[in-house]
Each structure stands twice: as structure tokens, then as C-alpha cells.
């Protein structure tokens, strides 16, 4: 395929997909190890009421208010889950289930009650995003990458998810030791004087920011899939955290690229003439990678468990 076709139509969605996948997979490693994997599920559900309320308050569909609304909603959800868990002495899974379903239902109801016929805001969009539409119209080929006026026309989502990715990398790089110690041995971390509660909360906040930024571009399915599948697959490959994170980045990139390409071109190769949902395909590929790792990964068994 020529650059003239690839750069404007596929380069930016591909990059956004890859960046989103990595930004979610990085904090996902720690969430999976801490058995908090489903926080990602909860966050991605409560993003909907957040953006709907932001739309109702500002009256426009624009990215920043919605991202702020979504981020606030996820903080509210985390607070509510914690409150229900402690006040009602309820197990975390059930507390999460109560919170995110109620908030999601509230979001759907608000959306139905609001006149959104003039704007592009609906539940389906929130669920599976619109990766395919994030095209770079100003580009005419590879040479546009060096052309300042064309670069100014890049979709805003690309810049936002890129900044988010850098932020996530910085967080994990800067707090590597506390994150690692408090994940594997919270008791030891506290004995060293680390604030484990604070570390846990900031991890959830970073995950929420990544989820919201990715959600803005690609919808919530990818967010949940990328939080869990690449890290889970990576966990089957190695026993070392550093290597696990490396593997998870590889898996996330593979899922995003293969998923996007298969969704866009797969049906054409099979003779059909319509593309399928890229977000759904990326999630599917990440699941297939996880299945492969679960069947053949070198470290797939629980340590100490008998080999099956």
C-alpha cells in the first residue's frame, strides 16, 4: 500500500490504537498482580455518566470537559466502592458490581433524557469508540510527517493519548520501587515506611487517567481488554516484573496493530466489502494472544503447583 493512502487513513488510527493499548497495559500489570484487575472494568463503565454529565454542564461535545468529567466520575466510583466496602463490610467484588452498574444505569438514563440528536454521543460510541474515524486529512504521504502545516492537522486524540502514555511511563519509572515492593509484599513495604494506601490509590488514579484518555479515542472495550489481557499473557511468559512489563508492551502493540489491520483489511481479503469494528478486533486479538500464552507460555503454571 502506498504512503499516500496509508498515512492519512491508517497511520493515525494505528498509532492511537498502539498508544492506547500500551498506556492501559502498563498500569494493568500492577492491577493484575494486585488482584485489582476489575477496577479497569469498573472505571470503563463509569466513564459514561462522567462524559454525559460533562456534556450537560458544558453543552458541547469537546474533549477536555469530557475527560475531566470522566476522570471525576472514576474518582467518585473509586470512593463509592471503598465507602460501600467499608461501611457495609461488603466484599470488594460485590461493592464494585453495585457501584458501576448503578452509575452506568444513571449515565444511560441521563443520555436518554437528553436531547443528543444534534451531537455524536451515544452508548454504542462509548462502548466501542470510533478508531477508524480518527484520520489525518491533511496528510498526503510520508513526507507530511515533516510538514508543519500538515502536522497541525493531526487528530487531537493522538496528542492526548501520547501525552498520557508519557505520563504513565513517568509514573511507573519514578515510582518503580515503591510500586514493585508494595505490590509483592505490602507488609514489607509498610515496614520500610512506604505509604501503601497512597501508592495503591495513585495507581488507580493513573489507571483511570489512562482509561479515560484511551476511552476518548477507542471506547471502553479496548480499555478493559488492554488492562487485563496483555499483562495476563505477559505473566505467563516470565517471573520477573521488568520482563513482564516488556512482554505486556509487546502484546499490547501486537494486538493493536494486528487487530486494526485485520479489522480494516481482513474482510476485504475474505471478499467482503465492509470493515468490522477495529476496537472489537483488537480486543479479540489480545484474547487470542492470551489464549496462546495460557496454552504454551513458559511460566503459565502457578509456582509450586504440579504440572498438568
Amino acid at each position: 500500500m502506498s504512503g499516500a493512502e496509508f498515512v492519512p487513513l491508517s497511520l493515525t488510527p494505528l498509532l492511537i490504537g498502539v498508544f492506547s493499548a500500551i498506556a492501559c497495559a502498563l498500569p494493568g500489570n500492577f492491577l493484575v498482580l494486585r488482584r485489582q484487575a476489575l477496577i479497569g472494568d469498573a472505571i470503563s463503565h463509569v466513564v459514561l455518566p462522567g462524559i454525559v454529565v460533562a456534556f450537560l454542564v458544558t453543552g458541547v461535545v469537546s474533549a477536555w470537559p469530557m475527560m475531566i468529567g470522566a476522570a471525576l466520575a472514576s474518582l467518585v466510583a473509586v470512593g463509592l466502592i471503598e465507602a460501600i466496602r467499608r461501611l457495609g463490610k461488603i466484599e470488594p467484588g460485590a461493592a464494585m458490581g453495585v457501584t458501576f452498574t448503578a452509575m452506568f444505569a444513571g449515565g444511560v438514563l441521563l443520555l436518554e433524557q437528553t436531547d443528543t440528536s444534534s451531537v455524536h454521543l451515544d452508548v454504542e460510541h462509548a462502548l466501542y469508540g470510533n478508531l477508524e474515524s480518527l484520520i489525518w486529512l491533511d496528510a498526503i504521504g510520508w513526507e507530511s510527517l515533516l510538514d508543519a502545516s500538515a502536522l497541525a492537522g493531526l487528530p487531537d486524540e493522538l496528542l492526548r493519548i501520547f501525552m498520557t502514555l508519557i505520563g504513565v511511563c513517568l509514573f511507573i519509572g519514578l515510582f518503580w520501587r515503591p510500586l514493585k515492593v508494595s505490590t509483592f509484599d505490602p507488609g514489607f513495604a509498610e515496614a520500610l515506611g512506604m505509604r501503601t494506601g497512597l501508592i495503591g490509590l495513585s495507581l488507580v488514579v493513573v489507571a483511570a487517567v489512562a482509561a479515560v484518555a484511551a476511552f476518548d479515542a477507542v471506547g471502553s472495550i479496548i480499555v478493559i481488554a488492554m488492562f487485563i489481557c496483555p499483562p495476563a499473557a505477559a505473566r505467563m511468559m516470565t517471573n520477573q516484573l521488568g520482563k513482564q512489563i516488556g512482554w505486556s508492551v509487546v502484546f499490547a502493540m501486537l494486538s493493536a496493530i494486528l487487530g486494526y489491520v485485520l479489522a480494516g483489511y481482513g474482510p476485504l481479503w475474505l471478499g467482503a466489502n465492509h470493515a468490522v469494528s477495529a476496537a472489537g478486533m483488537i480486543a479479540t486479538i489480545s484474547g487470542l494472544l492470551l489464549a496462546l500464552a495460557a496454552i504454551a507460555g513458559p511460566c503459565r503454571h502457578r509456582s509450586g503447583a504440579p504440572a498438568h
Partner: protein
């Protein structure tokens, strides 16, 4: 409008939906209790999301075989098959790999749902122009419900309910003490599987009304709510069924009373309102009860400390303690003890000394363990035992009698 809806006078279709939803709500509440007690509430989230590819595949199969593709029973069978497969995947991942159950749930949930979305986009393009309406399974839709659909839902809900009633004993046993259940000869794996199968049945039946994203709420919220009101399984099960049924009934009726009130979300929000009220106001486990309990405890501690201070003629500066003593008429406005105050203070000090002896006595270890600074000695020891302690304690000494 409201009242008419609640009394089922909004016409045939609304009545059908309301009654169907209620049957489903009861079945979901009862089934969900066992899931909740087994601490696996979120497995239902994976099950419900895993139904989507089944719906798509069933539709494509039925179209390929020359059918209409929209037959509800066919779609539900397909969704049950893929939910079952998702359940197997979770079981396999947690049993044979190092993944914890939460990661397995999340992986199955997102991957199956993603694949389902891929299938939906294929279907949209396959039968261009022909509205398959499969998106309605995401959030549920009761607008175009047919008599046949309602029958399927009502029969499905009732059957599930009967199965739960039949299996409640072993399921309770397994939920509370799997090891004991295994020792009694109950096949724990099989009972777990049965619980999951029931959850799957509720999910599949509920797809049409509340949709796959929100059906988990009907399985999770009522049991959690009911748990606030009782510590007995049978009560929680019944209450959860009642709460689930009531939320579904009120929600469905309310949503029928006005446009733009989608059934699923309204049912969930009614259910959540029940939950919030229970969280705040339930006796025993509720927040209000806990606050009151805490206040009462605080009052007793302050009272006790105030009396001990009075007895030892120490000045009291703490405002709350002073207010308590004053309002009980134990001290005057200037902080000097009244006669009644002196008497109560003397008793408090004597009790404290008695406790001191009890706690120093190895033979009274059992009673001493109950000491918390507030308990009256009379509730722990007999009058004879107290008399014995008083002999050790003795009277005033060095004073001419």
C-alpha cells in the same frame, strides 16, 4: 400515569413487560444471593458479556439456514452456549494457569464482548438495510416485546426459581463452608457449576429486558441489599427475591409510564435506591445504626471517666463529659458533684477496684477477659463472688471504728 402503571392499567404490552420483569427480578435476586455468598459476584459480569458472540453467531446461523434470524429462543440458546463457553474459559484459566479469578473474569469479559462487537458489525453489513436489532441486547428493550417473548421470559424466570428452591440446601452449605460440604459428601464443583448455570439462565432470560450490561445489577444489588437486614441465609434469600422483584416491578412500571425512560437502567436505579436506603438505615449493619452505636459507646466512656474523676476529686475540663454529667444531674453548674453524683462516683470507683482484683486473680481469668472498662461487674459475677472480692478489698483502715 404513575399509578396506572403500578396497577397494571397501561395496556396489554406494558402489563406483560412489568410482570415478566418481576418474575425475572425475583429469580435474579434469589440466584444472585448464592453467587454473592460464594464471593463470586463479578463472575456474572463475565457471563453476561460473554453472551454477545452467541447472539451474533445464532443470528448468522439462523439466517444461513434460511430463517428470520430474530427468533428470541434461538438467540437465547446461542447466548447461553457462548456464556457457557466463557464460563469454561474462566474455570480453565483459574485452575490451570497462574491467573487469579479476577484477571480471568476481566479477560473473558472483554475478549468475548469485543468479539461480539466484531460479529455485530459483520451482521450490520451482511444484511444491510435489514435492522437485525441485535443492539437491543446491549441495553435491553421492551418496546417491541411480543407475547411469545414474554412467555419465554416468564417461563424461564419461574423455572429458574423452582430450581433454586430445589437446590437451596446444598447451595447454602457450599456457600458457607465448602470444606465441610465436601466432607459431608456434597460435590462442591458440581454445586458451583449449578449456581453458575442458574446465573447463566437468569442472564440469558434477562437479556431482552435489561440488556447484558445491566443484568449483573439484578444479580448483585438485591442480595447485597438484603444482606444488610439479616444474618440468616434463608431470610436473605427470600428478602433478596422480594427486593429484586419489587425493583423490577416498580422500574418496569415506571418506565412504561413515560417515553425516554429505558427499562433496564430504571430497574437498576430503583434497585440501587433500595440499596442506598439499606446502607444508611438498616438496623445493625446500616451506617446510621453504626453511628448511633458509636455515639452510645462514646457517651458511656465519657460518663464512666467523668464519674471516676469525680470520685477521685480530680477536676474535669472536658466539655462533653461535663455536659453529660450535668444533664444527668450528677454535677452542678459549677462542676461540683451533687449527692447523687457522689454516690454514683463512689460506686464507679469501687467497681473499678473490684475489677482490678478480678483481673489480678488467675482464677477469674474468664471473667477478667470480659473487662472493657464499661461492663458492670454485676453482669459477670454472682453476688457471692462480689462479696468475696469485697472482703479482699476491705473497708477503710487506720480509722477508729
Amino acid at each position: 400515569m404513575w399509578l396506572e402503571a403500578l396497577t397494571l392499567q397501561l395496556g396489554y404490552n406494558a402489563t406483560l413487560v412489568t410482570l415478566g420483569a418481576m418474575a425475572l427480578g425475583i429469580a435474579a435476586g434469589v440466584t444472585g444471593t448464592f453467587l454473592f455468598l460464594r464471593k463470586r459476584a463479578l463472575v456474572s459480569d463475565a457471563i453476561s458479556h460473554a453472551t454477545l458472540p452467541g447472539v451474533g453467531i445464532a443470528f448468522m446461523l439462523m439466517v444461513a439456514l434460511g430463517g428470520d434470524g430474530r427468533s428470541l429462543i434461538g438467540l437465547l440458546l446461542g447466548s447461553a452456549a457462548s456464556a457457557g463457553f466463557g464460563l469454561l474459559c474462566i474455570g480453565w484459566l483459574t485452575k490451570y494457569t497462574r491467573l487469579a479469578e479476577d484477571a480471568a473474569i476481566g479477560a473473558v469479559l472483554s475478549v468475548f464482548f469485543g468479539f461480539g462487537i466484531v460479529l455485530l458489525t459483520i451482521i450490520q453489513n451482511l444484511s444491510a438495510g435489514r435492522q437485525a436489532g441485535l443492539e437491543s441486547f446491549l441495553l435491553g428493550s421492551t418496546a417491541g416485546m411480543l407475547w411469545n417473548d414474554a412467555i419465554i421470559i416468564a417461563v424461564g424466570g419461574t423455572l429458574t426459581l423452582l430450581l433454586v428452591v430445589a437446590m437451596r440446601r446444598p447451595m447454602t452449605l457450599v456457600a458457607f463452608d465448602p470444606e465441610y460440604a465436601a466432607a459431608r459428601g456434597v460435590n462442591v464443583d458440581r454445586i458451583d457449576l449449578a449456581i453458575m448455570a442458574l446465573v447463566m439462565a437468569v442472564t440469558v432470560v434477562g437479556l431482552k429486558i435489561v440488556g447484558l450490561i445491566l443484568i449483573v445489577a439484578m444479580l448483585i444489588i438485591p442480595p447485597v441489599t438484603a444482606r444488610f437486614w439479616s444474618d440468616r441465609t434463608d431470610h436473605v434469600v427470600i428478602l433478596s427475591g422480594v427486593l429484586g422483584g419489587a425493583a423490577a416491578y416498580i422500574g418496569a412500571a415506571f418506565s412504561a409510564s413515560a417515553p425516554a425512560l429505558p427499562t433496564g437502567p430504571i430497574i437498576v436505579l430503583v434497585s440501587f435506591a433500595f440499596f442506598a436506603a439499606s446502607l444508611l438505615f438498616a438496623p445493625g449493619r446500616g451506617v446510621l445504626a453504626a453511628v448511633l452505636r458509636h455515639r452510645r459507646f462514646q457517651r458511656r466512656v465519657h460518663m464512666r471517666q467523668g464519674l471516676l474523676a469525680l470520685a477521685q476529686a480530680q477536676p474535669i475540663y472536658e466539655g462533653y463529659t461535663l455536659r453529660l454529667l450535668k444533664s444527668a444531674g450528677l454535677v452542678q453548674a459549677d462542676g461540683v458533684a451533687t449527692d447523687r453524683g457522689k454516690a454514683r462516683a463512689a460506686k464507679a470507683l469501687r467497681d473499678e477496684k473490684r475489677w482490678e482484683l478480678v483481673r489480678a486473680d488467675q482464677a477469674m481469668e474468664g471473667a477478667a477477659a470480659l473487662y472493657d472498662g464499661l461492663r458492670d461487674l454485676e453482669t459477670v459475677l454472682t453476688a457471692d463472688q462480689i462479696a468475696e472480692i469485697d472482703i479482699k478489698l476491705g473497708g477503710p483502715q487506720g480509722v477508729p471504728v
